[in-house]
């Protein structure tokens, strides 16, 4: 973002712009995903129209919903642990904001350029578990506590396959910096043909599938929605939350879906880049400045594609039972991803 905005901006102005950009990068995908997929696509899959009254094709329904939530009373259960109950949704949302900080949107359009970006992403995504656990506990409600505990067990179990799936990409790219992973994919070539770059979804297809399954579980979307199973636990750890604080959980859920889709597109689909061979670019420094504008658009397109897959699976499959869920993580995903790492490492050394 420095080059785009002329580097003589003072530090505080850059920081302010980054914060504003971060808020946009969290809220915009969340709103879009909720309207396009949760309201409209789900309705079409169920042969109904969905919201139609507020604005053209119901496109302002979200504004109406947010207005409704903000008006509602902010209820705290009498025996709850008041302070922790109130900050728990914010902890979950903070995890989302920390996640988006590492996503690169263009050659200069990034918030932070961490050397260990992938590692950072895996670390801060686990902070949301803390928020969910204390939300369940502080509600002073057995259903909430059960939901929180189920969520923690599930998120710990599926974090492992996610880490292991990403290691294949790291081995292939030879770096943990997300920006350099993007460059490695777009500057790469498939057996000497560089018309498509080398998006890792081709070579790391197994890793991609495992990553997306783990993302589905981390987001507690159906079929992994055991923690908020509404027929047994009312709404799990969210049961006691109302109004603004429920809205915070809701935004965090869909914003995290968007951010994970962005990260998956960086890791496996080539991120903001277009194959460098098209314009005779070779390194990141030779990429033209207009990519800072086109890059975010490419990212959003890929995000919508991956978010569509997440939501499609969500609306199509019934829920896993708790034991099936744990068995699937430990006995299927972890061994498969370990084999994937071994094969990737052997091929990396061989070629």
């Amino acid at each position: 973002m420095n080059a785009l905005l002329a580097a003589d901006l003072p530090y505080w102005a850059q920081s302010l712009l980054r914060v504003l950009g971060g808020i946009v990068a969290v809220l915009l995908p969340a709103g879009t995903i909720v309207y396009v997929f949760l309201f409209k696509m789900m309705s079409f899959m169920q042969s109904r129209l969905g919201p139609m009254e507020a604005g053209p094709y119901g496109s302002l329904q979200l504004v109406a919903e947010v207005g409704k939530w903000l008006q509602k009373e902010d209820i705290t259960p009498e025996r709850a642990d008041r302070f922790i109950f109130k900050i728990a949704p914010l902890v979950v949302l903070v995890s989302t904001f920390l996640l988006v900080a590492v996503v690169p949107f263009g050659p200069d359009a990034w918030f932070t350029n961490f050397e260990a970006g992938v590692f950072y992403m895996l670390a801060v995504s686990s902070v949301s578990v803390l928020g969910i656990l204390i939300a369940g506990w502080a509600s002073a409600n057995k259903y909430s506590l059960l939901g929180g505990l189920r969520a923690a067990g599930q998120l710990i179990a599926y974090e492992l396959p996610m880490v292991l799936a990403v290691i294949g990409v790291i081995i292939q790219a030879g770096t943990m910096n997300l920006q350099q992973i993007v460059v490695a994919q777009n500057a790469g070539s498939i057996f000497g043909w560089d018309g498509l770059g080398n998006p890792y979804i081709l070579t790391q297809f197994v890793g991609f599938i495992i990553f997306m399954i783990a993302v589905q579980a981390e987001l507690t979307q159906t079929p992994f929605d055991m923690p908020i199973a509404e027929s047994e636990l009312v709404s799990g750890y969210m049961t006691e939350y109302s109004g603004f604080r429920f809205l915070t959980f809701f935004i965090a859920e869909f914003a995290t879906a968007g951010v994970f889709a962005l990260i998956a597109s960086v890791l496996f689909l080539g991120g903001w880049g277009i194959p460098f061979a098209w314009f005779d670019w070779s390194t990141i420094d030779s990429v033209d400045d207009w990519m800072n504008v086109v890059g975010p658009l490419i990212m959003v397109t890929k995000m919508m594609l991956l978010a569509f897959i997440i939501m499609w699976v969500r609306f199509s499959y019934p829920r896993f039972r708790e034991d099936q869920l744990q068995r699937f993580a430990w006995k299927v995903l972890v061994p498969v991803s370990l084999v994937n790492i071994m094969v990737t490492a052997i091929l990396k050394v061989a070629f």
Binding site: F114, E115, F119, A123, V127, L130, L133, A140, A152, I156
Partner: protein, 172 residues
């Protein structure tokens, strides 16, 4: 007094975070609720991660968050919530052994301070802007180079612990 190449902002940041960590650490042992104590401990551990970041040791900082905040504290809270975690104050939470614990922790503080001053003295960390190599690459070259054997030994210890846990937990 003030050295010319002193990083003022970093030192102010260090002071604020260190103060927060000390307060949080005291609250861990004085607070009357198990879950609150665990959450204060989260603040202490995150503070340590922030201090690593100020030293531009981002890999260690991220490891601190991943291992302690993301895994150890979650398991800790998970365990307490499964067994006993009442809301509100608990009377019998304070242990009678604090009379021994205070001198022991003071002794530990003295020993660690002495070791740090004796080992490093006036040695300064290089300014992050002046570092030529990527710290993570140096770190990984060290771990998988000269320190490979200790690394293997540590992995083996962890493997033994995992197998031991399975053996203890299995009923048949």
């Amino acid at each position: 007094m003030v050295a010319a190449d002193l990083l003022v902002a970093q030192n102010v940041g260090f002071g604020i975070i260190a103060l927060l960590m000390i307060v949080a650490a005291l609250r861990v042992v004085t607070v009357k609720n198990v879950v609150h104590a665990a959450l204060w401990l989260v603040i202490v551990l995150s503070g340590a991660a922030a201090q690593y970041l100020l030293l531009s040791a981002e890999f260690v900082a991220i490891t601190q968050v991943l291992v302690y905040v993301g895994a150890v504290m979650v398991l800790f809270l998970f365990g307490t919530m499964l067994t006993r975690a009442k809301i509100g104050a608990e009377a019998d939470l304070n242990n009678k052994n604090w009379g021994i614990a205070v001198p022991v922790s003071l002794l530990m503080f003295g020993v660690i301070t002495w070791v740090l001053i004796d080992g490093f003295g006036d040695e300064r960390l290089p300014n992050p802007d002046e570092q030529t190599q990527v710290p993570i690459q140096v770190l990984s070259d060290d771990i998988f180079g000269p320190y490979l054997l200790p690394f293997w030994a540590l992995s083996f210890v962890l493997l033994v612990a995992v197998i031991g846990a399975i053996v203890l937990a299995r009923k048949d």
